[in-house]
Amino acid sequence: MLAYIVKRLLIMIVMLLLVATMIFLMFRTMPGDPTASMVDPSIPREARQALLERYGLHESLWTQYRIFMRDLVQLDFGNSYFYNRTVLRVIGDRLPATLILMLTAMLFAYTFGILWGAWMAWNRGSRLESVGVTFSLIFRSAPTFWVGLMAIMLFSVTLGWFPAQGMRTTGYVGDSFAEVFLNRDFVRHLILPAFVAGLYFLATPLLIMRNSMLEVMSEDYIEMARAKGLRDRSVLYKHAARNALLPVVTAGALFIGAAIGGQVLIEVVFSWPGLGREIVQAVTRSDYPLAQGIFIIISALVMFMNLVADILYAFLDPRIAYR
């Protein structure tokens, strides 16, 4: 098992380097001069040249790539053109906001999704089941940014229950982690985006759990458990649901990539100062180093979560052998 984890970690590092190479090439072939967004085109040529040299943009592509990779393995993502700070610092500032929002939403979605999905399959054909399916399908089909816009219109503008944007009241500047995240003002700002993100995440565990339960319920051992005279609840949660969890875990891992996409949209709609909103702005501003850095960090996050899901799989299904 340990050997397996080490092997996977090594593969992950290789993958990250490949992703970094891909993203490096993608950004370097982007139209529009990167200098245009940070150097005033009307300034004298010599000054412009000096700036190009300062950022290393005058070098050949291959040299730029070598420097990029050498810095990357030292976790040096360079400087953001726009913020004039190191990319790592900007990412460090934005990462907690993204993680808190995402994990809150996922916890909500997976707890409700799994329990409710199992229950729905058990009561297939009942009125409440079709209500549940329809409800989750509507939220699966609704674009998360649109749900966000409507939620802001309803809960912030019309009802005035929650703030519409940001994660702190405007004008507030917190210094330490605790000052920014551990207080009621932050929680008040978190509720609406987390709820909207949770609704978007909910349908996946819910529907997969339901489908997977339906598969499991036609298995012989469920019939056996029932024939033994076990109570319904015991058959449902101890025999059926545990075996039905497997596809939910796989799909959950696969879903993380998509979840980050939804996260980007929710951050934009709610002006949530996280990585997702930052990457959209960085691409718009042609801020290569920052966009690259965020892209690589998000990729690392997705890979890591996939690894966690695979390890979880082993605990859930002892039939799977790891080499």
């Binding site: 609704a142 940014f145 990539g257 998509a258 718009t284 890979m303």
Partner: protein, 297 residues
């Protein structure tokens, strides 16, 4: 135990099952009717839309009809520069359907082939294919599509390309995991012992078993592609020349009126919800046709 083989169920009877299923399953019927409506609107969008998407409207005194609430003349009201939202939503239907179906067909085809080959052969073929899939999994979808749409000229075709480039991995991985368990079943071994070749086993014995899954995934992929296109357009990286639902919402959000003008924000989103729902309901009834086990319940 399946006594009748699938081959003995001919097309006509499958269609009959689908038809009788429609009569029983009201949601499926609703889905089919709604989807046909959307396809009709999409095909005849230009004739159905009363106005051009960028046409500005003036009232009797000659001033722009800014942010007017819905009326008989403008069923979904007007934008902040006096454009007819109803016409924009009608025209956006075609964009959504085109992107959705083209991307889904592309993605499902590639994904199923890769998934079946990987799951059936196993060994190094599986390892190599799954490493490639893993690589594509490591790339975050929306950020990638944003970057690619920004690099390539923003156009509808490039969005289809960007969506397809990353989405086949999902189908491949899901199909593979199903094939892995099917390949272990006794009748596959029996077929091999009986002398069936690889292609025959994959096409005749494995493919029929993954079709329900593939169809379901294809429906998800249509929805996924439509959603991705809308998201990219909403973020402002869409094709500026093509009216789409995402683009309507982008302008709505950027203008700041998404907080006030409900008649502007609601219709494009509702259109997306209804289209995706209709596709899902159709898929669900198809699933019942292809998978006899679901029919019994």
């Amino acid at each position: 135990m399946k006594i009748r083989s699938r081959r003995s169920v001919n097309r006509q009877s499958l269609f009959y099952i689908f038809w009788s299923n429609l009569k029983r399953d009201r949601l499926a019927l609703f889905g089919v009717i709604l989807l046909l409506c959307f396809i009709f609107i999409g095909v005849f969008a230009e004739s159905l839309a009363p106005h051009g998407p960028r046409e500005r409207h003036y009232d009797a005194e000659g001033s722009i009809r800014r942010l007017e609430q819905p009326s008989w003349q403008y069923p979904f009201g007007t934008t902040d520069v006096g454009r007819d939202i109803f016409s924009q939503v009608i025209l956006g239907t075609r964009t959504a359907l085109t992107v959705g179906f083209l991307a889904a067909v592309l993605v499902t085809l590639v994904g199923s082939v890769v998934g079946i080959i990987a799951g059936y052969f196993g060994g190094w073929i599986d390892t190599v294919l799954m490493r490639i899939v893993d690589f594509f999994y490591a790339i975050p979808f929306i950020p990638f599509v944003i970057v690619l749409s920004a690099i390539l000229q923003p156009s509808m075709w490039n969005i289809i390309l960007a969506v397809s480039l990353l989405s086949w991995r999902t189908v491949a991985r899901i199909v593979r995991s199903q094939v892995l368990s099917i390949a272990q079943r006794p009748y596959i071994k029996a077929a091999r012992v009986a002398g069936a070749g690889h292609v025959r086993i994959m096409a005749r014995y494995i493919l029929p078993n993954v079709i329900p899954l593939v169809l379901l995934e294809m429906a998800f992929m249509v929805n996924w592609a439509i959603m991705a296109e809308a998201s990219v357009a909403f973020l402002g990286f869409g094709d500026p020349r093509v009216t789409s639902w995402g683009q309507i919402l982008h302008i709505n959000f950027v203008s700041g009126y998404s907080r006030l003008a409900w008649w502007w924000t609601a219709p494009p989103g509702l259109a997306i919800v209804l289209l995706l729902l209709s596709i899902f309901f159709v898929a669900r009834s198809l699933e019942a046709v292809v998978d006899p086990r679901l029919r019994k319940r």
